[in-house]
């Protein structure tokens, strides 16, 4: 049954995206800071996407995560930004901790949008400096995807020395959004200035924060894999078509081997994403380590593929009108939003110290 539903969801998604999303729509989103494709989001809500993997008791469809990830991959291929990962991750954090059932329902129905505001200026990692005390948070969060349009944010903050996750209503008191020009304006990003913003504690402890970040990283990895796949695909197509010196550029080993390297990166990123997802779904104890490999593998893959996609396209690749720029921007944005690679490397290597291999 699940398989049928999955196929149906993906078919619908492909048809919707095929009909709605084209290069000029994507360009428009890039033009101004804080852009969000609300019309597309409303159609996605109609199709029930926000609800897919949220359990029925939270108002969702209760399908498994494997029903959501192909859709994320499809979005990634088309550089479409919808707040599906942030909505799911926020809803599950609330649900697992029995907090704010109304918000869970609103996220599942698509009435509300969530942002994950985990990062801050000053450190590439996720350990917050923002302070929680007396039910309020004070501090500044780095630009977070969808924060420009979100109703709620899941925010990291310190209660004393203990990091935790808090739910903040972005329309409420003590919250100011800074909608900034960012590398990828289509991410509806905004920084948050929190000056005594009312906040609901969701979960405390570094391990819990990391687990939530790991879930977000694992799901994001599927968007990254989709983007990498697309970069490889359009690069291969261009390489077969574009001629120099009387041959398609794809007949030259400099390009052939570059594309072969892209293929390896795509498959390694995909492998890491699949394994992290399996571990998450199976509730295995190695999940965080696998989430790190998914984060790093899929992130490096997308960065590499986007960069070399431009290179393969030559001059056309650096124009505003061509497709590669969307991937170049999106790849870097996704690689940074949940914290920089050095942070995740630390997490992986420290985790490996106690992990037996097999």
């Amino acid at each position: 049954m699940d398989n049928d539903v999955r196929t149906m969801l993906l078919d619908q998604a492909t048809r919707l995206l095929e009909a709605e999303v084209d290069q000029s729509r994507l360009k428009t989103l890039l033009e101004a800071p804080g852009s969000f494709d609300r019309a597309l989001w409303e159609k996605a809500v109609e199709l029930g996407w926000p609800a897919i993997a949220i359990p029925e008791l939270g108002g969702g469809l209760g399908l498994d995560l494997e029903s959501l990830t192909p859709l994320l991959q499809e979005l990634g291929q088309r550089t479409v930004s919808l707040p599906l990962v942030s909505g799911y991750v926020t809803a599950m954090a609330l649900l697992d901790n029995g907090v704010a059932a109304d918000v869970v329902a609103a996220l599942a129905s698509g009435e509300a949008i969530a942002a994950l505001a985990f990062g801050e200026a000053g450190d590439c990692g996720l350990m917050p400096a923002a302070k929680f005390a007396n039910g309020k948070i004070t501090g500044a969060k780095a630009p977070a995807a969808f924060a420009a349009v979100a109703d709620h944010a899941l925010v990291t903050a310190l209660d004393g020395d203990t990091p935790g996750l808090y739910l903040v209503a972005l329309g409420g008191a003590g919250v100011e959004r800074d909608v900034l020009e960012v590398i990828d304006n289509a991410r509806a990003a905004a920084g948050l200035r929190l000056a005594g913003a009312p906040a609901t504690p969701v979960v405390t402890g570094w391990a819990a924060v990391l687990r939530t970040a790991g879930i977000a990283a694992t799901l994001t990895a599927f968007e990254q894999v989709g983007g990498s796949e697309r970069c490889l695909k359009i690069s291969v197509e261009y390489a077969k078509e574009r001629k120099v010196f009387g041959q398609p550029i794809g007949a030259f080993q400099a390009i052939k081997h570059k594309l072969a390297d892209m293929y390896q990166e795509v498959e390694i990123g995909r492998g890491c994403a699949i394994d992290a997802l399996e571990s998450l779904v199976a509730g295995q104890s190695d999940f965080l380590s696998l989430a790190c490999t998914a984060r790093l593998g899929a992130g490096a893959s997308y960065d590499f593929c986007a960069r070399e996609c431009i290179q393969t396209h030559g001059g056309i690749g650096v124009t505003w009108e061509a497709e590669p720029q969307h991937h170049y921007r999106r790849a870097r944005s996704l690689a940074l939003e949940l914290g920089g690679a050095p942070f995740w490397r630390d997490l992986l290597v420290d985790g490996q110290r106690v992990l037996e291999t097999v």
């Binding site: 080993q253 390009i255 052939k256 492998g271 890491c272 699949i274 696998l290 050095p342 490996q352």
Partner: protein, 408 residues
């Protein structure tokens, strides 16, 4: 003889437990300590004993039928057993080629009588097979091979020279590809045979490698060597296709993710003890970065390999994407070994002859260049991915349609 495959309800974890117990019990007899100081001949004799025990216990050629000495298991059983076995330093290396490619190819091409006669003793390690492919002028470009097989009554006469033939010095039989028609294009004039390595006219000469004083690789010279036509595998002129079939089997045979070098776990342990200007190397970002890259790649490759094996178990043919694994792992072992030596500093130049290849950074480093060449160079593997997976144009090949004897 324990019949291990009569319990179809055995779970994979039970299978692993049983394999672990079986392997552990043999350590005094076949482990690193027992093998220390043995000559190659003594070690080979020990290896044959071990291989016979494996065959009896169903741990040799795990995916082949029990009736011929295999294990009657799946690819998954094979990978699990191999993982456990690789934790020991048991003498298995002599049979890697023999059981890897020739035996499966014989099962596809030889008649039943031959299979019954030669394959069970091969799986037991009593007989060893070699693979006669490369030549001095035919490495990456296999179809450029020159060793001739000329019709002679009911058979063929072989003259020429093969190179890089692993374990030919101990081989009883071999499979190989030879030029039977030099007047047609290079790929079209080849034919595949199996043959007796003790045939008159065959001379084997060991080739010394960069690393180590003994070597598994050889030159094999053919002087008017007779092979009956009944030992032909495939049609006359179809040898290149059969050779490629053989190589496709080989591509999935890289199961050891450490490529014979130290595991990442060992490298991390090593780095925890090494120092950079007094700081533990494992706390240093350049070491972390290198380890993280390796761990990520390993995870991706594990996932790819597992899914490929599952697909093969479900009856699908292995695809050219199997090229990724060896390509990445060989270069990775070199990167990691070089880093490990850097962390040792001046002490890194020491080469402890008593330490196994799997434990020592210097040995790992000195041995790995061959890993980037044998079984397809890095460059050939990238080309394979580009052409066979991505469908990019083949390189310009001016000799492709020219009759072989007219190539300049």
């Amino acid at each position: 003889m324990t019949d291990t495959m009569t319990k179809p309800v055995e779970s994979l974890s039970e299978y692993v437990d049983r394999a672990r117990a079986w392997l552990a019990a043999l350590e005094p007899r076949f482990g690193a300590e027992a093998r220390k100081g043995l000559s190659v001949e003594q070690d080979l004799a020990l290896a044959r004993e071990y291989q016979t025990l494996k065959s009896e216990a169903g741990y040799a050629c795990i995916t082949l039928p029990r009736e011929i000495g295999g294990g009657g298991g799946t690819e998954l059983h094979k990978i699990l057993f191999t993982q456990e076995e690789s934790k020991y330093d048991y003498p298995t290396v002599y049979f890697g080629v023999s059981l890897g490619m020739p035996v499966p190819m014989m099962l596809r091409y030889a008649d039943q009588e031959t299979i019954q006669r030669l394959i069970p003793p091969s799986i037991r390690g009593e007989l060893i097979w070699a693979q006669l492919f490369s030549e001095p002028a035919a490495g990456s470009d296999l179809a450029a091979l020159r060793t001739r097989a000329v019709r002679d009554g009911d058979g063929w006469r072989i003259d020429g020279q093969k190179l890089w033939t692993s374990w030919a010095q101990f081989a009883d039989y071999a499979i190989g590809v030879f030029r039977t028609d030099p007047t047609v294009a290079k790929h079209a004039g080849l034919t595949f045979f199996w043959l007796d390595m003790k045939s008159p006219g065959i001379t084997v000469k060991e080739v010394r490698k960069l690393a180590g004083k003994t070597s598994e690789i050889n030159e094999v010279f053919f002087d008017n060597v007779y092979v009956p036509d009944s030992q032909r595998m495939g049609e006359v002129g179809a040898g290149f296709r059969v050779a490629i079939e053989t190589l496709m089997i080989e591509r999935y045979s890289v199961t050891d993710e450490n490529m014979g070098g130290p595991s990442l776990y060992d490298v991390a342990k090593f780095a925890a003890n090494a120092r950079i200007n007094g700081r533990p190397a494992l706390d240093d970002g350049q070491v972390r970065h290198a380890l993280a890259d390796a761990l990520v790649e390993r995870q991706g490759l594990r996932s790819i390999h597992r899914r490929a094996l599952n697909a093969m178990a479900a009856g699908e043919e292995p695809g050219p994407e199997g090229s990724i694994r060896k390509l990445r792992l060989a270069r990775r072992r070199q990167i990691i070994a070089e880093l490990s030596l850097d962390l040792l500093g001046a002490q890194g130049i020491a080469l402890d002859p008593e330490v196994s290849r799997a434990q020592d950074a210097a040995w790992s480093w000195i041995e790995i260049p061959g890993g980037r060449i044998a079984g397809g160079t890095d460059e050939i593997l990238r080309n394979t991915i580009a052409e066979k997976v991505l469908g990019l144009p083949q390189d310009y090949r001016p000799d492709k349609k020219v009759p072989f004897n007219q190539i300049g």
